[in-house]
């Protein structure tokens, strides 16, 4: 592990310990009161989920056309983190919706599009696990199509949803929640970087082991 890893991990843990206090002290939102505070973890998770998906897509493209195994390892790790943070988004979202508006699922455009993106990331992992030899390329192809699909999913779900008028509207990003929000974002981003580094390192170790086995065979 690189030198910065352990200090960064400690900083991250401390930040997460501090963040609930910042969140508790943040101003209450007008209509939803206390319940709205889940947003401070929901939104950064969503951003990290999106970031992770984009990294997976770009690394997959570079792997498919360049053949670099480093990109493949990065794509695999990013896909796993997409599933992880996506799960956080998809759990915190309905929890918030339930308390705020009384229903678990509202076919909200962002939540639904996230769900579809999450399914693609999950499919990526299934292919890698069960696809047999050559599954790294198959998964990369899937990731590319998943990324290309994002605008279409968003537009189609959005337009589809207006046909089922909802009784509530998810608020747009409130930028005045300031400190607590950006602190939480920093927490999640740091956590993401740490987890990504750790996961990529696991794959690197596996590759080194394979290379050792190969050289043993000389």
């Amino acid at each position: 592990m690189p030198k910065w890893f352990t200090p960064a991990a400690i900083v991250c843990a401390l930040m997460f310990a501090v963040s609930p206090f910042l969140i508790a002290n943040a101003p209450y939102e007008a209509t939803m009161g206390l319940v709205q505070k889940i947003f401070y973890y929901h939104l950064p998770s969503a951003w990290v989920f999106l970031l992770s998906a984009i990294i997976c897509g770009i690394a997959s493209a570079r792997f498919l056309f360049g053949g670099s195994p480093r990109q493949d390892r990065l794509a695999h790790a990013a896909a796993e983190l997409t599933v992880l943070f996506g799960a956080i988004v998809l759990v915190t979202g309905p929890l918030w919706a339930r308390k705020a508006w009384g229903v678990w699922w509202q076919w909200d455009v962002r939540l639904t599009s996230s769900f579809m993106g999450w399914m693609v990331a999950w499919a990526y992992l299934l292919v890698r696990k069960y696809g047999g030899p050559g599954s790294d390329k198959l998964a990369a192809g899937l990731a590319l199509f998943g990324m290309a699909n994002v605008p279409f999913v968003y537009i189609s779900v959005n337009y589809w949803r207006t046909i089922h008028p909802a009784t509530s509207v998810v608020p747009t990003l409130p930028v005045d929640m300031g400190v607590a929000l950006w602190f939480a974002v920093a927490c999640f981003l740091l956590l993401f970087v740490l987890l990504l580094r750790m996961r990529v390192r696991l794959e690197e170790q596996r590759a080194k082991l394979d290379a050792l086995y190969l050289s043993l065979d000389e």
């Binding site: 030899p133 082991l209 394979d210 086995y213 190969l214 065979d217 000389e218």
Partner: protein, 235 residues
């Protein structure tokens, strides 16, 4: 069309994960010669043939067709390569003639129908051309598959276990066909573990064991005893 008179492998290796399928193999084959890849099952013969066919990329080393690698030569290199795989590459629902016409047209052969008819005659199946391949015996299918591989007159012919399931007459016909190809200046690379049939046919024999070339013999004879002595050695 790309043409070449030498096939060269330089330090070619291929691994799958942590398993080495082929380990630093080098050889050179000239036009008008037959090279045999001999070895037990799992020695890496099929992997080597797949690399020579450009279906698989070597993990290390180069394969040169003349002076170019496959990347430099591009897609047209494939028009100079013919391959007969273990699985025959024939559509069972189509007739023998339809299979041959399809592949001839695919490879850009000038008059695909005439070429197909000529191929059927050469295979001794002129009267069975209109029957679906699924109704053929293994030997007959092998003959059609061989003609399919050769219909575009490739410079390099790769054969993976072509003697499997052939009776004596068919095997003899195949040997004669291969000798004819050698006379025409084709480079033939033949993977087999049937040493008796390869006897007297090969100009060069490369013995493979666990992905490594254990021996490379020019003008081999007494293949079986050579094979036994080589394979019996400790690695």
């Amino acid at each position: 069309m790309i043409d070449f008179t030498e096939l060269t492998a330089e330090g070619v290796s291929r691994h799958f994960g942590r398993r080495r399928a082929i380990s630093r193999i080098s050889f050179q084959a000239h036009s008008g010669s037959i090279l045999g890849l001999l070895g037990p099952n799992g020695a890496g013969k099929s992997t080597m043939l797949a690399m020579l066919a450009t279906l698989l990329r070597p993990s290390e080393g180069h394969i040169r067709y003349g002076s170019h690698t496959s990347k430099q030569a591009g897609a047209s290199l494939r028009s100079a390569i013919g391959i007969l795989g273990h699985d025959l590459f024939l559509y069972p629902e189509l007739t023998a003639r339809e299979n041959l016409v399809f592949f001839a047209a695919l490879y850009g052969v000038a008059d695909s129908h005439a070429a197909a008819d000529a191929a059927l005659t050469r295979a001794g199946l002129g009267d069975r051309g209109g029957d679906p391949v699924s109704s053929f015996s293994r030997g007959m299918r092998q003959r059609v598959a061989l003609e399919r591989a050769l219909i575009h007159r490739p410079r390099l012919v790769l054969l993976d276990e072509p003697f499997t399931g052939l009776d004596d007459a068919s095997a003899g016909a195949l040997v004669a066909r291969l000798r004819g190809l050698r006379g025409d200046g084709t480079i033939v690379v033949l993977a087999t573990h049937d040493l008796d049939l390869a006897e007297g046919l090969l100009d060069h024999a490369m013995f493979l064991r666990e992905g490594r070339a254990v021996e490379n013999v020019a003008r081999p004879d007494a293949l079986r005893s050579t094979y036994r002595s080589i394979m019996g050695r400790a690695t």
